[in-house]
Symmetry: C2
Amino acid sequence: MTTKSAVTDHPIHPLLEARWSPRAFAPTPVAPEQLLSLLEAARWSASGGNVQPWSFLVVPRDDEAAFAQLLGTLVEGNRIWAQHAPLLVLTVAQQQREPGTPNPYALYDLGQAVANLTVQATALGLSVHQLAGFDPEQARGAFAIPENHTPFTVLVIGAQGDPATLPEPLYARELAERTRKPLGSFVFGGAWGQPVSLLEGVTQEG
Amino acid sequence: MTTKSAVTDHPIHPLLEARWSPRAFAPTPVAPEQLLSLLEAARWSASGGNVQPWSFLVVPRDDEAAFAQLLGTLVEGNRIWAQHAPLLVLTVAQQQREPGTPNPYALYDLGQAVANLTVQATALGLSVHQLAGFDPEQARGAFAIPENHTPFTVLVIGAQGDPATLPEPLYARELAERTRKPLGSFVFGGAWGQPVSLLEGVTQEG
């Protein structure tokens, strides 16, 4: 297993440090009790007004017809590696509480639910790679998603595999260093662009 | 401290189980190294194309002018309890990569970053209560947020306080049972509305 723990400037919890998005997945199925824990972690996420505006379409590899359908919505560059993973999950946001009543927090809350699912995955030794590179309208048609719901991302889930199974340039990307903007570039104090005093030493480091 | 751990149907990690959104906060300041870890946890979150479309305006209670300004953007029902917390953070999404180029994943990714910040907070014995009940345009004006960025939520952060300090009906809400939809109502199999076989026993329980 390739570990690419975050190289942090400040300590964070090991589950957050260890999380990253691999492309090489081992074929080992995600066990039913693992999948239930992933979904339960999403279930207990926070949401605006506790409306829980998320749904998940669960497509394990051995559900061959559905797996092929969801895989078929992915752009070629994602399909090439995602096809080997044991589990795909289509995430869906309820952006309309009812027709004509938008919920502007639906995508934000879906993101939170997926982040919590991902923490749970990490705790179980699994990885999650989120994809935006797929055709949501094709997915809507394939899985009969109602009009007031929005297919938003596809989660590729499984245990990490051997990077050597990936073709270039994916192999190189799998081993590349992880990068982030420095804290001082997106954390501000009394006004936008104004440094927080406690980050003053940090901005230079970043 | 009031603990309202989730009553889960399936095991989840203790940090996810323990997280909830209190309204009673102790006045104890969030230490600088704790705040740095919260922000660092957000920093290492996943995002579409790794664009990291989030910013955070950090307003501790002892920054009196800024604290009063941000507090002043909150609706009365939130101000009544949030005023006692030691730390407010305004979250901001970059919904335009540049003017005219929208990033449709900005809110989803901001949600993920906040969820990770919240996991880190829980690990440090702190709680986060997210608010949508505030005036984003007033916050934009008060803190000079640029046009291509969107003030989205306010995070109220600190150690849990004594629920008895809350007026009714907030006191009763602080002690009320936490609830979620059953898994079977938002997790589907081969198509929308179709149960996943592994959840068939679960749906009844919920």
